[in-house]
Symmetry: C5
Subunit: 361 residues, 5 copies
Amino acid sequence: MIKRIKRKKTRTKEAQKYVGQIPGTLIYTGQKANKNFIVECFDYTKNNIQETALVNIEDAKNYKDTESVTWINVDGLTHIDKIQNIGEQYGLHPLVLEDIVNTTQRPKIDEYEDYIFVVLKMLYYDKDENIVIEQVSLVLGENYVITFQESEGDVFDTIRERLRLGNGRIRGLKSDYLMYALIDAVVDNYFSIIETLGNKIEDLETELFAGQARENTNIEVQQLKREILKVRRAIFPLREIINRIEKGEHSLIYQRTLTYYRDVYDHLIQVSENIDIYREMIWSLMDMYMTTISNKMNEVMKVLTIMSSIFIPLTFLAGIYGMNFEYIPELQYRYGYFVLLGVMLVMFVALLFYFKNKKWL
Amino acid sequence: MIKRIKRKKTRTKEAQKYVGQIPGTLIYTGQKANKNFIVECFDYTKNNIQETALVNIEDAKNYKDTESVTWINVDGLTHIDKIQNIGEQYGLHPLVLEDIVNTTQRPKIDEYEDYIFVVLKMLYYDKDENIVIEQVSLVLGENYVITFQESEGDVFDTIRERLRLGNGRIRGLKSDYLMYALIDAVVDNYFSIIETLGNKIEDLETELFAGQARENTNIEVQQLKREILKVRRAIFPLREIINRIEKGEHSLIYQRTLTYYRDVYDHLIQVSENIDIYREMIWSLMDMYMTTISNKMNEVMKVLTIMSSIFIPLTFLAGIYGMNFEYIPELQYRYGYFVLLGVMLVMFVALLFYFKNKKWL
Amino acid sequence: MIKRIKRKKTRTKEAQKYVGQIPGTLIYTGQKANKNFIVECFDYTKNNIQETALVNIEDAKNYKDTESVTWINVDGLTHIDKIQNIGEQYGLHPLVLEDIVNTTQRPKIDEYEDYIFVVLKMLYYDKDENIVIEQVSLVLGENYVITFQESEGDVFDTIRERLRLGNGRIRGLKSDYLMYALIDAVVDNYFSIIETLGNKIEDLETELFAGQARENTNIEVQQLKREILKVRRAIFPLREIINRIEKGEHSLIYQRTLTYYRDVYDHLIQVSENIDIYREMIWSLMDMYMTTISNKMNEVMKVLTIMSSIFIPLTFLAGIYGMNFEYIPELQYRYGYFVLLGVMLVMFVALLFYFKNKKWL
Amino acid sequence: MIKRIKRKKTRTKEAQKYVGQIPGTLIYTGQKANKNFIVECFDYTKNNIQETALVNIEDAKNYKDTESVTWINVDGLTHIDKIQNIGEQYGLHPLVLEDIVNTTQRPKIDEYEDYIFVVLKMLYYDKDENIVIEQVSLVLGENYVITFQESEGDVFDTIRERLRLGNGRIRGLKSDYLMYALIDAVVDNYFSIIETLGNKIEDLETELFAGQARENTNIEVQQLKREILKVRRAIFPLREIINRIEKGEHSLIYQRTLTYYRDVYDHLIQVSENIDIYREMIWSLMDMYMTTISNKMNEVMKVLTIMSSIFIPLTFLAGIYGMNFEYIPELQYRYGYFVLLGVMLVMFVALLFYFKNKKWL
Amino acid sequence: MIKRIKRKKTRTKEAQKYVGQIPGTLIYTGQKANKNFIVECFDYTKNNIQETALVNIEDAKNYKDTESVTWINVDGLTHIDKIQNIGEQYGLHPLVLEDIVNTTQRPKIDEYEDYIFVVLKMLYYDKDENIVIEQVSLVLGENYVITFQESEGDVFDTIRERLRLGNGRIRGLKSDYLMYALIDAVVDNYFSIIETLGNKIEDLETELFAGQARENTNIEVQQLKREILKVRRAIFPLREIINRIEKGEHSLIYQRTLTYYRDVYDHLIQVSENIDIYREMIWSLMDMYMTTISNKMNEVMKVLTIMSSIFIPLTFLAGIYGMNFEYIPELQYRYGYFVLLGVMLVMFVALLFYFKNKKWL
């Protein structure tokens, strides 16, 4: 808990720094500072592929106007000067560069004349089972795709593999298909995220169905609610973006890849629907928890009521014959005590039956 | 309970396998493995009908370009190679084949140049009274309809019968009417599903109206809520699909069948409305349950309060005269004991009246 | 209660019969079997009117192509063959006939080339104060309106009267005005239905405002909720229907009657608004009921707490001096008993003041 | 309370009378019968103004076709024949006249060829602080505006004053500006209504924030909820009406007044927003009330628990030494009694600390 | 608390004054009376900048038709005559002037032929951590921007700095970019506002997660709810405004600045999304608080039940042997007392185990 709040405050400070800056000023707003800066580069045609790690940033421009398709992947957003350098080589608008390093950015698409800029969110669970949201920015040009990520490690390994092996369609098609493949990889990964969420919800539900309300069950429910909110916010705007691409009005997106984008769109709708169902289920969980608490209180009250209702009248009876009046005839009877015990037993049994009858026992 | 959760985990594993695959890779994501693979084939004109069980998959292509209308029904989606084979014979897009075997697919329609691909969900109750959702994919071509189901057993028997007997319009019309008939059979079946749901809700409501809140009533309410969510999700997207067909822009759908599709659409709206009403009723059930619990607690509290409020003061009185002070004048009175008993009786009756007056008795 | 549920089950059975039938098969799905079959017929021009009870169904076609306007009203939907007969005489589509006898139909409009088919719901309270929904189907042709009702008794008597007397515009205008008049009569009747509903809500509210929560108050609230749902569902779709008529694109609706349809539309909006307000008020009633229960429980708890808190300490004191220690100095004091009684009185009064102060008394 | 319900029932009876009447039948549905019938008339140009009380209704038509702008204000809707008379002089549609006297009318606009008919609601608080809704109907013609009100007393005095004094633009512009001025006066008055509502809400909130939940707080909250519903319903439809006027498609509305109508529209949006905020705040009030009740019950329970938990064990101890066993060694000890008192004191203090520790004290 | 309510009443009085005034009458409705009236003026081209404090209002018109871009910033809205003076010099519509001084205005845009009028809200926290909303009105003309603020102190200092230093694009572009820069500064400031809100929510959440429900937690939650409502209402309408500017239909907004306005729009969407998420989180907080209270009550009940259930039966036993029957055999046994103590101990331990088993201990 404490860690998250601290992190939050850091973000506040960053954001404060950001307020009032000249538009187009590059400020990295994420929490992954001091990371390495890595630029990997895939340059391929149908028959050839060349994989390089770009050490000298200046070399990036070599790939700009070639016939071959190039994927430049940049890991690490703290090296602002280098990102600015790449931006200048590829003629990116200052606001685009600002959005690349501002990781609190909402998923968005900006269509410029000779390139398309897309921001989306990559989700994964870290080792403490918290959802981590990492921003991925894509720039799609005529013959290239540039991706910017906050840190190393991503969901693109299968694409790297497919590029190297040259199986599937990927090597034979243009950069718009590459962008599709990258977005598809991100979206496919959403499925495993929401399934983990779904399993968490089911576990809690099973627990509550069994009537086991642990003390921190409601905290877990609240945390799930927040995770859902987080994921929703990262995923939902993407639908609109893909929808806009799919309409196919930008010349960089070819007719033949539209079917693929529509497929991604269908997947996103499915993810979104699941998220909304999970959300509704979480609200139900809270209801379940409340009724479980109420049921427990009912049970406690019943025990109290049964114990009190049985023994308080009996104690009263005992009190009667504990009085010190000089003349209480019953006290002199030889078997008075036993008669009274019998009466008490009868009362006891009668009350038990009464509560049994009320289904309190 | 346990079974469902286990099943869920299986699905997770399947889905994980699916992540990162090349688009167009066929992976069966359902739970009905090791089932038979059956292909039945109805080939008919107005006057003739021929019913065959296709043993050799390669024969499927014989029906493609004939004048007669052909319905090929495939049961069993685990035999991926055979499905791929049929797909190739009929020129289906790889993404279509992927969707056919991916049974977590949302109901959808994809319109291609020479065929229409529709995914919908068939619902039925299994023997444990759980709702089972089975995916049915339809491919409508010029002279054929191909249907893909996860397993044997479906709601199409009446259609088979009508085809064989040749009554009604079905034999005299084209493949678009056949597809309508198949969809109509699925939708008609939804009515019996939601009526079963409705009956379950009414039973619970009657129970709650009678003030009988069993311990697991809230669990049943939650399970109904989930069933409704499941059914909603399987049925609602279909409206949009039929709406698109009904707009009649695809050349495969003839003008004269549009009235029939509009009729299906009306039925779907009716089903959807019922589902939404049931949903609202279930939320009310939860409210009912909560008030029932509260009322019960009230009753418990009243018993406790009445018993305590009557006997605690009386016990106090008895305690007074059980004290051992040397000089307590009342104790010496000849009829002190009886006077006290009288006083106690008066108090007892007075308190009873008091509670009667408060309507607690 | 029991009766309603039974009725429901009957419906289920009917519906089951319906599933899987050939589209266009006529099956009556209502509960009003074995009723009479009555056909009344008004044939009128501006100057003449002729009122007949059609005994021979075949005579219906005589009115089809006359200059005069004809209103044929059919009561009783179980005589399917006769309805089919009328349908054939007037050239109605099989799906229209199916919708006429399927009384679970949602209000709808279907525009055919030479007639318009409208389904709506007539509402009234039966003698047990339950809302009954009866389906009325209208077919508007060039010179005729045919209405189909489930049973005798309707809201059209004022229209019959106006037709006979020839006052107002009705006799001078065409069949489209007749249909307007019929729909208007149905909609006007909605007002009295929702006013009865409104009165029921107000009564419950007054009761709850007075703090009187009877045991079955929540049941009544739930039943009102269901009634509202029922009424909503019967009325709301009609708005869309009138809206479509009002747009006036069908040649059977003349320009001059559009103002009247717009008036009906305004009335429907008003009814709908009232329904939504009542709905919100019912939700508030449930809240009211919950707080009333909570307040009552609070009151119960206070009585318990006051009684216990006053007498338990006093009983303890009495217990102290009931102990049998050989040496308890206070017991020997001459006025020990009276001093103790005084102390108890002081404690008693002090506690009373304490609770008075807390506003619990 | 009682009065409101009675009033309601009267309305029901009126409405019942209304059902089934010939469209265009004039029935006054308000509660302000037996009021005076007053017709005042302002006839003005830029330079002259003439103010008359029309005694003879027939004189109304004199103003119809003059060059000067005329405002005819009619107070009292029970004199149906006179209203019909005016309607005929100005050529109003029967449905318009029906709407004028039907005060349960929803705010609406009807555009006829040579006049515009607007119905809106004037709100004010009566002397019992209840919101009263009075219907105002406006008919805007080429050179005249006719207003119909249920009774004397309105928000138009400032406009009368401005007409008499001739300051501002009002005398120099046409009838469309006059209608604007009248509507603006009504809308301006809404602000003071919702501010009174706002103050009521704030007062209740302050009370609840201070933890003072009076017994009828929830009743007041419910009544506020109903007032908001009432006001919402009277005001919200007006937005759409002004919006339609502002679109300026009717030739009676001149280009130069559109800015003014847009201004009214902005005011209405502001009022609507406030209403929605107040509505949300009222729902929060109910929540506040519920938690206040729960907190109070918690407090009651704590007192009970503390008193019981302290004295019940002590009483038990006293009970032990009140037993009459022949051999209880402690009873013979010289200072047994004082030792026991000491033990009890220690227990008492220990329990106090325990509860203090739990923050229950 | 008291202060806020008083302030509110003042506003009511102001508003009352406002009702019924001639449209276009200038009335200042804010709370910042008696403030200074300051007019500062920046007049700049790409190469020069001149900063003046306008003492003589009449000088304002000198800047109207120059080539250079002029920013006139007016602080203090109580000097209505002076504002009217400026308005006349720049040809502003009377309704515009009315809106400038009416600070209860909703954010809005009015497009006139040669200027655009925008009203928006500047938010900041005052020293008591309350959110203050200050209205800022902007008038954008061909070569000028005039801003009107209620009082000194704003978020525009960075813009003043950038103007003076001439870095960034601002000096080289037209007045439409200046307006963008001003709006952007206001929107950027929203981020810090909502982050403060977010921190408050997180603090409360952490507290509730730790189970610490202070007595006034619900009051704080309610106040947060109100703050969110306030902020929502100030910010949300701005989206629509920027959207309208971005559509770029007004000739005063040049093509090249549209990208910047779109960027502001994206920021606003992000702020709005955060607000909606916070809102949902606050509702969850209330739920959390309710469950925390319920859990506490459960705990209290358990203590009561355990204490009562253990000691009431034991007290009964002691009562039995405190009775004064002449013949109670157990009393004569030598070790009767010790045996009974043993029995009591066993009961005590058994009950402890019972409650342990139920997880109440």
